[in-house]
Amino acid sequence: MISNKAKKQIDAWVAKYPEGRQSSAVMEALKIVQAENNNQLTHDNIQAVADYLDMPGIAAAEVATFYENYNHQPMGKHVIRFCHNISCMLNGADDLIAHLETKLGVKTGEVSKDGLVSVKKVECLGACVGAPMFQIGDQYYENLTIEKIDEIVDGLK
């Protein structure tokens, strides 16, 4: 279930914590396993991580479902992580998300037909000063408008 390469990466994280505290590496382990699994964590993936770290499956699931970084459905090549927390919301994030949904013909959480993009609502990404904002990959896009969004999304390949 978990490749040897991924296990090596997880072990490196486990080594950073005191002996017997291997479960502290659960966030990184989930990330590593998600990365080698089409950017998605299935029930079995979560259980495998839990087994590998010798912790209850539900405890790993609590982490995996708490953070927006983990995806539980298939995701597109690019994931637009749209902040809808307070600052962004006050600055019109909901309307922009609705625009994006219509433009791509998907609901949040779904993948566009060509498999290229999916949109996900996330909580505050710490960029309130540039609200409304979203994140694609490692890149933040701030002070979004409908025009700006169209331009960014049309440029995705």
């Binding site: 029930h43 979560i46 259980q47 209850p56 499956g57 539900i58 405890a59 699931a61 609590e62 479902t65 708490f66």
Partner: protein
């Protein structure tokens, strides 16, 4: 001790203890949801906010430690306002569906809302809904009602030893749910129903049955294992409708096993015997009590008494019987001049039986720093004893198991897995190493033995501990070297300063021992009886296919043409109908008064919570009347309490036992250890349908190693004596470990 002030009243308290513990002790009401005296503190619900002078904000009483001179207000405006505000928040998403909620009337949320809630809600937005999920046949979930107190989650990780429930999602999407599709599987799961303050987790078998105020709660004692958990049977119109746990810190604290909680369902099973029956010319007839008793007495007289042949009478009883029942039955047999009596029906060889005292109390078990469990699947066989060890482990104790198979403990255990014929030699190795370490003389039988490395490890662990306990379990009962194993444990304990706990016989076995329900040297034990020419048997709650080790010889002995059999049972059984001549319907658990003796040798008496259905009668009354009709003296009892006081006046007989240790006994090439599923250990359990439907109730496998499978020419999925074969490397060679939920005739393996 420091002095603090609560609501203007001076109170003494320990520094550092939590405020809520003090208010509870003083009888001052502080509302709470997440706090539970036996669970860790999560301080997440905020319902317990109180005003502490000097603190900038209201403080949660459940997580505010006491300091000298503290002044606390639980009722002032600030406290009340906070409590009211929290209540309003908690009700935002709560469905308020009390009229259709099973918790109604015994709901902490309902009670607290009445006290602290407001009558209108300012929340006009939509409420959250949580899709229903099925977590098994015992617990009904309605998670829309959940207030996220996490008591059930903490119960899992701290008490049940496995975290099964958890909180997934976040914010408004937070949901309490199990991760596994099979739902909740813990043997203690029903306690989540008790800890859940709202109607999110309720009893599934009890769903939509009754309101709590309609029922009477009768204190009672669980009789399925050696703990004797304290509980309440809640009854309505003469039926037990639900069982909830009672509090007793020396016994079950505040928890009960699922076995104790849900077994009552069996009481209403359609197989219950309602009328006395006699077999006339091969045909069963339901008759009046007087007719049946006359028939029984006449049969006994014709077959034995008239010919003064009391030594051709045998009395056999199940160890689930009450102490009073067993006492009366032995008294009656002995008055008749019969010394053939036994309750150890499942023991293969009674010439060499286990003798091992239990010399550590239940409550002390959680203080051990080392435990060695020999031959037991403790978690399922003795759940509350295991729970104490689980606590010890959480406090840092080291646990080892010496067994033929790896079992799923709910705490880490170091396993030493050996074949049945190596258990004795491994323990002998442990003993030798202990003796050497203590510079003691090595006895003759150990002189040539070289301890295995596993034995040395086990011995060192014992020697490194201060308070160790060695536990001997049921799987060793029929080991060829059973008595040597027990005697080795006695020796090891003696020289390593350890305690011992004998859980090899369960239910009320200690009650049976107390009243000497075993023959003295002039009588026959069960296996002798089965092989002798008998003329009559008196059976108390005996079900042949489950109870006897030697099922075939038992059936043969009981079915002989000229053997007269009087059988007291609470459930009908086909084989019983085949061999019995009279069947007398007896009351089951909760329907009779009596006494159970637990592992602490504590006599716990209980009264009948309900009366038995139909014409069934408590067995002590049946036995008393039978004795009267047989014109035996000394049976003028009016209550079971009278019987018990007579038991109390009898001195305990010290039985002689064989303390020899013999490591050279021939052992079989493949030994079968046959265990009934933990939910099939007595008749009531076997008829409790929800327990049977649960994961533990469905256990049915004959585990063996590949090598054993090769010898027996079996593959995974094949059947071994009717049970599906599971080939696993967690079972030692030279043995088959069967855990079966089937009624089978194959239990008796020669």
């Amino acid at each position: 001790m420091v002095e603090i002030e609560i609501d203007g009243q001076l109170v003494n308290a320990e520094p550092g203890e939590m405020l809520i513990a003090v208010t509870d002790r003083e009888g001052i009401t502080v509302p709470r949801f997440c706090y539970h005296k036996k669970l860790s503190i999560s301080a997440s619900c905020r319902m317990c906010l109180v005003d502490v002078e000097g603190a900038p904000k209201p403080q949660p009483a459940c997580s505010t430690p006491i300091a000298d001179g503290m002044k606390i207000h639980t009722q002032n405006e600030r406290a009340k306002a906070s409590q009211k505000a929290v209540m309003e928040f908690l009700l935002i998403n709560h469905p308020l569906d009390c009229p259709i909620c099973d918790q109604g009337g015994e709901c902490e949320l309902q009670d607290v809302a009445v006290e602290y809630g407001s009558d209108v809600s300012r929340f006009s937005e939509g409420k959250r809904l949580v899709a229903p999920s099925d977590i098994g046949p015992l617990i009904q979930t309605d998670m829309t009602r959940c207030i996220h107190c996490t008591r059930c989650v903490r119960f899992g990780s701290e008490i049940a030893g496995i975290m099964e429930m958890g909180g997934t999602g976040r914010g408004e999407d937070l949901k309490i749910e199990p991760f596994l599709a099979e739902g909740i599987t813990s043997e203690l799961s029903g306690n989540m129903i008790d800890v859940c303050p709202v109607g999110a987790l309720t009893s599934k078998p009890f769903r939509y049955e009754l309101r709590s105020w309609q029922m009477n709660a009768v204190e009672s004692i669980a009789r399925h294992d050696l703990t004797g958990s304290n509980l309440y049977a809640q009854t309505y119109k003469g039926k037990v409708k639900r069982v909830v746990s009672g509090d007793n810190d020396n016994i079950n604290e505040t928890w009960i096993s699922d076995r104790d909680r849900f077994s009552y369902e069996g009481l209403a099973h359609e197989d219950r015997l309602l009328y006395p029956q006699i077999k006339v010319e091969g045909q069963w007839k339901e008759v009046e009590w007087s007719v049946a008793l006359d028939y029984a007495v006449k049969g006994l007289k014709n077959n034995i008494l008239n010919s003064r042949n009391a030594q051709k009478l045998g009395g056999l009883a199940s160890a689930t019987a009450t102490t009073e029942e067993l006492y009366l039955m032995q008294k009656m047999l002995r008055e008749l001049g019969c010394e053939n009596l036994d309750y150890r029906l499942n023991v293969k060889n009674l010439d060499k039986t286990i003798h091992l005292p239990s010399n550590i109390k239940l409550a002390k078990l959680e203080q051990v720093d080392y435990a060695l469990v020999v031959g037991a699947n403790l978690r399922l066989e003795q759940p509350m004893i295991n729970h104490r060890l689980c606590k010890a482990q959480l406090a840092g104790a080291v646990m080892n198991a010496l067994s033929v198979k790896e079992f799923d403990f709910n705490y880490p255990v170091g396993n030493t897995i050996v074949s049945p014929n190596q258990i004795a030699s491994t323990l002998a190795g442990v003993l030798k190493h202990v003796l050497e370490a203590k510079n003691q003389e090595i006895p003759e039988y150990l002189s040539t033995l070289t301890p295995s490395s596993e034995a040395t490890d086990l011995a060192n662990a014992l020697l490194n501990s201060e308070q160790a306990v060695i536990i001997l379990g049921e799987h060793v009962l029929n080991n060829t070297q059973a008595n040597s194993i027990a005697n080795l444990i006695t020796e090891i304990a003696k020289h390593s300063n350890s305690k011992t706990l004998n859980v090899s016989a369960t239910a009320n076995a200690l009650g049976a021992q107390r009243v000497s329900f075993t023959p003295n040297s002039t009588g026959m034990n069960v296996n002798d009886m089965l092989n002798a020419e008998m003329s009559a048997f008196l059976l108390l709650d005996v079900i042949p296919e489950y109870d006897f080790h030697h099922v075939d010889s038992a059936l043969a002995a009981l079915s002989k043409e000229d053997v007269f059999v009087v059988s007291l049972n609470s459930f009908g059984n086909e084989l019983v109908s085949q061999y019995a001549d009279v069947i007398l319907p007896m009351a089951a658990m909760y329907e009779t008064s009596g006494t159970h003796i637990n592992i602490d040798h504590k006599l716990q008496s209980f009264s009948a919570a309900v009366s038995a259905p139909g014409e069934a009668k408590p067995a002590w009354k049946i036995l008393k009347v039978l004795a009267d009709l047989l014109e035996l003296p000394g049976f003028h009892y009016e209550s079971s309490a009278q019987v018990l006081s007579e038991v109390a006046h009898q001195s305990e007989v010290d039985h002689e036992y064989d303390s020899s240790i013999n490591l050279d006994e021939a052992t079989p090439a493949i030994e079968t250890i046959w265990m009934h599923s933990p939910y099939q250990t007595d008749e009531l359990l076997r008829h409790a349908s929800s327990l049977q439907a649960s994961k533990i109730g469905q256990m049915n496998a004959a585990s063996m190693s590949q090598a054993t499978a090769d010898v027996l020419s079996l593959k995974s999925g094949d059947r071994y004596l009717g049970v599906p074969v599971d080939i696993t490397d967690t079972t030692a060679d030279q043995c088959v470990f069967v855990s079966s939920n089937q009624a089978t005739n194959m239990g008796g393996l020669s």
